[in-house]
């Protein structure tokens, strides 16, 4: 994970900080916020999401509203994916890139029901950087920007029982009609609540955006209904198994979407910042690619460990790795020289003093269960 060194007294707290402390969560700095890493143990929380339902405080995430006659043209100028033709109520995943193809951030773009209104959801660690980038590039476009991050809280409710939970505990029958990557507007305490069928776990689930005050109440209701609180520890094991990248590990100013294997979220029939560099990389002009590697042992490949060929030549580095909870295998994402990126290529991981043989496998380790 991306660890930004910030003095403890300057860390931000989400609206649910007191709730986490009351639950006895193990708290730790993440992305400039004091966040819960676990409540009852990573394995218990991970399995709750895979088998039933769990909830995450993701209020640290950033929300930036963009509106105006040229909002769509502006977003398409900074966004690798293409929002043209996407109807209101749809959500689209993609990246913002630097001119050299490096990644500014990965984000969700929501096309709102009001014409020419959009919501961008960005990573907590990047809120200030992203907002500065967006402001700079919005010059010349007729649109207005609003960084609403401090006043909006967010809870992710994830797992096979997420829909049932949203309907029964919060009363939003609309949940049943939402397909994956769509959203609707509902009300809570007379205020707007965005109910979005999205997530970062590989399971079906919802992300709820509303005011901080509402989020505190909703968390409490879900908790009383028996929903397992889940920390960032299992958020990482879950997203990793589902093959989802984390900015700072699998995407960065040095790691482009093409290197990360996310080319499907880059659309070249339109212009956007970084397009030419990504096209060059797509044509083969790139040094490394992100792969999955599985090793034949229970030892755990951790971020930073070297990837080697059979003759001990270092050809890459692990970006995220675990002994997978759902699959009982030791697997990792690694950035490797492109000649070694083909499926089934034998590659080893050096873990402390030992070398563990393995091979390149698909990055989506776990079969995801999204609602079509």
């Amino acid at each position: 994970m991306s660890d930004v060194q910030i003095p403890l007294d300057q860390l931000q707290k989400t609206c649910l900080y007191d709730a986490h402390v009351a639950l006895g969560a193990k708290m730790s700095p993440f992305a400039g916020f004091m966040m819960p890493i676990q409540y009852d143990g990573i394995t218990v929380e991970h399995n709750a999401v895979r088998q039933k339902v769990g909830m995450f405080d993701v209020s640290h995430m950033g929300e930036i509203f963009v509106k105006g006659p040229e909002a769509e043209a502006f977003i398409n100028h900074i966004f690798t994916n293409d929002i043209r033709g996407y109807e209101p109520g749809k959500v689209l995943y993609g990246m913002m890139c630097y001119p050299d193809g490096g990644t500014v951030d990965d984000l969700l773009v929501y096309r709102e029901y009001l014409a020419n209104h959009f919501l961008l959801v960005v990573n907590a660690a990047n809120i200030d950087k992203d907002f500065a980038w967006i402001q700079e590039h919005a010059k010349g476009f007729d649109c207005k920007l609003d960084n609403a991050s401090p006043r909006i809280g967010q809870i992710a409710v994830q797992g096979p029982e997420a829909e049932k939970t949203i309907i029964e505990v919060l009363g939003y029958k609309e949940a049943a009609d939402l397909a994956f990557y769509t959203f609707c507007d509902v009300e809570y305490n007379g205020e707007r609540l965005i109910l979005s069928r999205t997530g970062y776990t590989g399971e079906d689930g919802f992300e709820i955006y509303t005011s901080n005050e509402n989020i505190v109440e909703i968390w409490d209701k879900l908790l009383k209904a028996g929903v397992q609180p889940c920390g960032l520890g299992c958020r990482d094991t879950l997203r990793f198994e589902a093959g989802l990248p984390l900015y700072g590990d699998e995407l960065s100013p040095e790691i482009s979407p093409v290197m990360a294997g996310l080319g499907m979220f880059c659309k070249y029939e339109k212009d956007f910042i970084g397009k030419q560099a990504l096209l060059d990389q797509k044509a083969g002009n790139l040094s490394r690619k992100l792969v999955g590697i599985e090793i034949e042992d229970k030892a755990i490949p951790r971020a930073g460990y070297p990837v080697e060929t059979a003759d001990e030549k270092e050809v890459g580095v692990v970006t995220t790795g675990y002994h997978s909870i759902s699959l009982d295998k030791s697997i990792c994402f690694a950035l490797v020289d492109k000649e070694y990126a083909a499926l089934d290529t034998p590659l080893s991981i050096r873990i402390r003093k030992k070398v563990f043989p393995g091979k390149v496998v698909k990055k989506r380790f776990y079969q995801t269960n999204y609602k079509k």
């Binding site: 890493i37 676990q38 143990g41 990573i42 394995t43 520890g233 990482d236 094991t237 229970k298 030892a299 755990i300 951790r302 675990y322 002994h323 909870i325 873990i351 402390r352 030992k354």
Partner: protein, 126 residues
């Protein structure tokens, strides 16, 4: 409050030592296992490997983190607890009942540099 057993020697890096003649039986403290959380893997040396006091001989892995193990004494590994290969969680269940390696000591005087139960208690601040 974690468990500390009288009569064992302890290192500041949270290993315990039980002396059986010229053999040091080595494990990790209850405090260490609690800090780690669910242990999923114990990386151990092989029998006949040399270890040196203060040097890494293996590691404990939990889901989220790995934590190196340091040998409190120098010598030759004469046994490793193979039971932990298939059941690493035994370290969580009973840290003092789950030894990790046994070392035939080359310099038993090194034991004098280790902490007793009271000294270790002070280290972990309990």
């Amino acid at each position: 409050m974690s468990k500390i057993i009288e009569g064992l020697k302890y290192s500041e890096s949270h290993e315990w030592v039980k002396v059986e003649g010229d053999v040091a039986v080595i494990g990790v403290s209850d405090y260490a296992q609690a800090e780690m959380g669910d242990i999923t893997y114990v990386d151990m040396p092989e029998v006949d490997d040399e270890v040196a006091a203060g040097e890494e001989f293996g590691a404990l892995e939990s889901v989220k983190a790995s934590s190196e193990l340091y040998s409190p004494v120098s010598g030759t590994v004469c046994a490793v607890n193979e039971e932990l290969e298939d059941a690493p969680e035994k370290v969580n269940e009973d840290a003092y009942g789950s030894w990790i390696i046994k070392v035939k000591m080359s310099n038993p005087a090194e034991l004098d540099a280790l902490l007793d139960a009271a000294g270790y208690k002070a280290v972990i601040g309990e």
